[in-house]
């Protein structure tokens, strides 16, 4: 049974040390909940970017909340490099599990199938493989005729998937629309926490058109309302990004002192929710 709750309660449901799956920019990044997580002082998160990260990942790293990161890339897009991420990597304070986008999708898909791994073509010859002892190369067992090396990606089972959507109904069914990666994340994770723009009156499964883009409450532990919950990022189809705020963040992320000021004034201020 899904609980309707508050953003702060959602943050309190993410224990220190959790493996936390986060969606890429534009597709429902739960920024309100991220600020609540930082306010509650979460520590030692093991982030899984699906499959890439932006301001959310950078902010959590800068706020000292992250022990480990699995990612295919972290950047602030057209606003430039993710400063806290780069600082943490070059100073060696972050354990990094370097990946490539389809490998993260494959790992989550393996988990949702209850399979130990999925095979993935390509990747051979990349230095990513050298630094991922958990990724193995096997010979294609179905090819009896020839050597045919193929990479296998172990299942990725996050403790928690956290994302933002347009709406959820009273029962806790969540409308993800065409953002189908959110469904894969929820299937793969042990628990799913969702923030939404608004509450949908009725049941999403009663409308065939909406039902096709709906994640069942079966997978959802808790839902919380958070209007403009992706800001300062945009939310495709709903609102654009706050360019001034993202520019200011990009600048602050490049210097320790500036970032500390930013964090104190913005991310940790309750009024910024």
């Amino acid at each position: 049974m899904t609980t309707w709750t508050t953003v702060d309660e959602v943050a309190s449901m993410i224990p220190d040390g959790s493996a936390l799956a986060l969606i890429r920019d534009g597709c429902g990044v739960a920024m309100s909940a991220t600020r609540a997580l930082i306010r509650r002082g979460v520590r030692d998160l093991r982030l899984v970017n699906v499959p890439t990260g932006g301001i959310q990942t950078d902010l959590l790293i800068g706020a000292g909340c992250v022990a480990e990161l699995e990612t295919s890339g972290v950047s602030l897009g057209e606003y430039g490099p993710a400063g806290r991420f780069a600082q943490a990597v070059t100073s060696g304070t972050l354990t990094l599990k370097e990946a490539t986008c389809p490998a993260i999708h494959a790992g989550l898909q393996a988990a949702e199938k209850g399979a130990p791994f999925l095979p993935l073509r390509g990747v051979l010859g990349s230095d990513i493989l050298r630094f991922r002892p958990d990724w193995r190369v096997i010979n294609n067992p179905l090819n009896d005729a020839a050597e045919d090396p193929v990479v296998v990606i172990p299942a990725i089972t996050p403790d928690i998937a956290l994302f933002h959507c347009a709406m959820a109904d009273d029962a806790g069914n969540v409308w993800v629309g065409r953002e189908r990666d959110l469904i894969t994340m929820a299937h793969a994770a042990r628990q799913t926490l969702v923030t939404v723009e608004r509450r949908y009156p009725g049941n999403l499964f009663d409308d065939a058109a909406l039902a096709a883009g709906t994640l069942s409450s079966f997978y959802v532990t808790a839902v919380a309302p958070a209007a403009e919950g992706c800001k300062p990022l945009g939310f495709t189809g709903h609102y654009g990004e706050d360019e001034d705020a993202l520019r200011a963040y990009a600048k602050a992320s490049r210097r320790d002192a500036e970032f500390a000021t930013y964090l104190a004034a913005y991310a940790t201020a309750p009024a910024a929710v």
Binding site: R24, G26, C27, V50, P51, T52, T71, S72, G73, V74, S75, G77, E78, P81, A82, F85, A86, V89, T90, G92, L96, E98, A99, T100, C101, P102, A103, H105, Q109, L120, R121, G122, V123, L124, G125, S126, D127, I128, F131, A146, E147, D148, P149, V150, R178, E179, R180, D181, L182, I183, T184, T236, G237
Partner: protein
């Protein structure tokens, strides 16, 4: 002879490398490659399909971010673009960082889909507007995606050409080397040799990069510019003269 700027030259040049493709995909933060893809679509009278990540009017995907990779894996994408913090003479690209990984001295964003897409898409165009020996290096510090594979490794795709602000190189996947094919107007072979950190071959028929003709320029400044303005308004305004 019509005047054109460097961006217009690069757009027209990359569009020539895309002739005959059925489906071109373009990643984020890539206004010049996206413009080249849209120009190809116009020049093919719509026969070439273009998918631009981040532009809802130019993407058909409805199965999440994984659909791009699934399409590529099935051979449904013929061309794509990568940049590279470093690119070496064997076609290896580094999108991870400078120095001894994992303690890089400079960290880039990450490999994104490159390690996979480099195997799947036949015409990968490497694009770096700044032609710089710190970028075009003898050997990359980290291989995000390998330029070639040993015999027997399944592979459909890889680097096809390298386009910089100075020149066009073609890549020979059998030799694992670049060949300088054309030099942009105003650039010289000695200068390109001095600013390229890796060894390369020079085509016997080395030429000047073809200038865009009047028809091409009017397309770039017209239909292509208006279409690209939806995703890249600043680029369309400043580089192609499209009013907001």
């Amino acid at each position: 002879m019509t005047n054109f700027n460097r961006h217009e030259l690069l757009i027209a040049t990359m569009a020539r490398l895309l002739i005959g493709t059925r489906h071109i995909a373009v990643g984020v933060s890539s206004p010049i490659p996206a413009s080249a893809a849209l120009l190809t679509r116009h020049q093919s009278n719509g026969a070439t399909r273009v998918s631009i990540l981040g532009d809802p009017s130019n993407t058909f995907w409805s199965d999440g971010g994984k659909e791009l990779f699934d399409c590529a894996a099935q051979g449904r994408i013929d061309a794509f673009f990568f940049s590279g913090g470093q690119i070496d003479g064997a076609g290896n690209i580094n999108l991870v960082g400078i120095g001894d990984y994992p303690r890089s001295t400079v960290r880039f964003g990450g490999s994104y889909g490159s390690a996979f897409l480099y195997y799947m898409i036949p015409r990968i165009i490497l694009f770096r507007p700044d032609h710089d020996p710190r970028v075009l290096v003898p050997k990359v510090d980290f291989i995000s995606a390998a330029g070639t594979s040993p015999p027997g490794v399944w592979r459909r795709g890889g680097p096809y050409a390298l386009v910089t602000g100075k020149a066009v190189f073609h890549f020979d996947s059998n030799e694992g080397r670049f060949t300088l094919q054309s030099v942009h107007p105003g650039e010289t072979l000695p200068d390109i040799q001095a600013t390229t950190g890796f060894a390369f071959d020079v085509a016997p028929d080395l030429s000047e990069t073809e200038s865009p003709d009047a028809t091409t320029l009017s397309l770039i400044r017209g239909s292509v510019g208006r279409e690209i303005a939806a995703t890249y308004p600043k680029f369309a305004r400043e580089s192609l003269g499209i009013a907001a």
